[in-house]
Symmetry: C2
Subunit: 411 residues, 2 copies
Amino acid sequence: MSESNLIKPHGSGVLMPLLLSGQEKVDELKKAATLKKVVMSSRETGDLIMLGIGGFTPLKGFMGKDDWKSVCEEMKMTDGTFWPIPITLSNDEPIEAGMEICLISGETEEIMGTMKVTESYQIDKTFECEKVFATADNEHPGVKMVTAQKAWNIAGPVKVLSESYFPKEFEGIYQRPAESRKLFAEKGWRTIAALQLRNPMHRSHEYLAKIAIEVSDGLYIHQLVGKLKPGDIPADVRVKCINTLVKNYFNEDKVLMGGYPLDMRYAGPREGLLHGVFRQNFGCSHMIIGRDHAGVGDYYGPFDAQDAYHNLWEGALECKMLPIDWTFWDYGQGGMASMKTSPEKNKDQRLFLSGTKLRKLLSEGKLDEIPPEFSRPEVLEILKEYYASLEEKDKVEVKLHGHATGKAEVK
Amino acid sequence: MSESNLIKPHGSGVLMPLLLSGQEKVDELKKAATLKKVVMSSRETGDLIMLGIGGFTPLKGFMGKDDWKSVCEEMKMTDGTFWPIPITLSNDEPIEAGMEICLISGETEEIMGTMKVTESYQIDKTFECEKVFATADNEHPGVKMVTAQKAWNIAGPVKVLSESYFPKEFEGIYQRPAESRKLFAEKGWRTIAALQLRNPMHRSHEYLAKIAIEVSDGLYIHQLVGKLKPGDIPADVRVKCINTLVKNYFNEDKVLMGGYPLDMRYAGPREGLLHGVFRQNFGCSHMIIGRDHAGVGDYYGPFDAQDAYHNLWEGALECKMLPIDWTFWDYGQGGMASMKTSPEKNKDQRLFLSGTKLRKLLSEGKLDEIPPEFSRPEVLEILKEYYASLEEKDKVEVKLHGHATGKAEVK
């Protein structure tokens, strides 16, 4: 079936990948080596790669001040295109408009792309944070990223020259929008629900994934493979958990998986909206929005992201939300349910386990205390191994440390 | 919340109930008593009541030949309005155009309405059956109804004077479109999925109802309270089963129930479409279409009704289908699933129980052989009582019969 049955990319009829290839890339790389270098943060690098693969269609580069302000205030570009989060690049000093610069990954030091500077400007970071994160509290990991930005924002159209380590390190899971679209079309799917994942899939995720499958042609489990906050399960372990779960508990014919290179901003509702924007570019007609989507701590109400979708103006975003309530195992009916399907009389028979509690049980090796109604045993097994390996690593570190300080025994 | 958030009635911005009330009704009843009488079949009476309460908006009466033909052939009225099944009235002889007639229920002999005859015409019943039922086999209960129609169809706008015994016999469940719309609005619901039911709810129905709740504001369990084919569970028993199930296994806040007065035609895909048309009039944005919707025997493929929705032209029907695959308990994953969510490796772990097998087990009192994964115990208990009462009745009948024929013992 043709790709013409799929949802069109956001704000544009076609994908607009900015990644160069072939001779064009060779020439640009040669030129880049001669240009002034700007070192990008991890978040900025992820954003650049998304621009490169067309995940951020119709953006052509990093935003200028008018777009930045309009996006912060009204969630739209100055041309009216819906966009919920500023995509910006920072630098210690302003750069003259018209100048071409070379964009370097701070993490790998490789050349990632070039940009023709159109503007340098300074921003009110508190304003940005309050608009985007609804807080300026520097404990918020997204706020921390903005605070850590350098003094000037520099804007301009980009040419992207690398996808960094993502294609290799996440081989088989890293995917470009053109690839996911091709796969969806081959399957003959029209309605595809995207499941955002940055954690291993427990049964609550399994349940919402299955609801989505029941009402769509297929499910796209779309994992973040960029950076997370400390303590989150790393992408490779998560991928393993999800592969195992899908293999054992899903009709594999109805599931496709992919990974995207962004860092989590933890912007809650605004990030939930961004998730819809780029899922549309990947070809998804629906974005699953569950409880506390893209949230962190207590910064957002559990359904703020759903409200954000409900409050969008007509035509803002073609990719529709698939809102799902708080899900859990309901012992009273012997099955998964949500607040919408569990009877009030079963209110004491609902299995809740906070992420914090779960992590505690896992890290203490208390696997037996995690009920199978919360997580499939195959998934717990993988998590157990991961936490055991952490412990080993800790032991080694402590031992080394112990030799130096004599404190190993007391730790 | 206002009713303006609900889906608009079919083919018209507003409900068009044709039921008279107050003095207008008194006067019309007086006149009706003086008019030529036409006795209606059960199906025709149900159709008239639906016209009366606005369930068949925007129809104004029984169809004339051009509309009948166009509906059979193209599923649209001559004015272009989508309509999938002819709504016609038959009589032994033609009636002069312009004449007013009195419509009588053949079942209760009461005056149901009046009609101003615009046309009498004869039809090719085989043509109608092949178009509507995809068969002219007289074993098909819907075909049987058409075959039993009298020689002439008479058409014209109607005035409806009674809802017969439905409001009283099905008090608390019988509902008019204006009433369901009011209730939906009071709940603040916008997206409402209708669940068509003519059988008790087993877990497969429970599962699809819950999927619908998870993705909608609310569920409308809309039961047929008209006539069924022999052997089907009667409406009062079914209502009891469903009430019990909802009370014990649903969040009652997300469920509303209603009953409508039509007879089943068993027209499979075409009836599935009609279900969407009148559910839209009742205020539902979505119509759940599962396996073998409105089918009988082997006349239709299990997903023909879903295909019928997929094949509709743009704008035909505003009420959208919520298609659900074949659902069952999957022992391999310890939960309900469908063909879309059950892994291929679990193919021998799926619980299937045909309606025939189920009825056999129930009627033989073999309740223990029906697994709780198929039906909730509270529902089985009610069915058990019903079948036991049938048996008692049979015994009584047999006994009476035995006295007369001396064959009671051998039966």
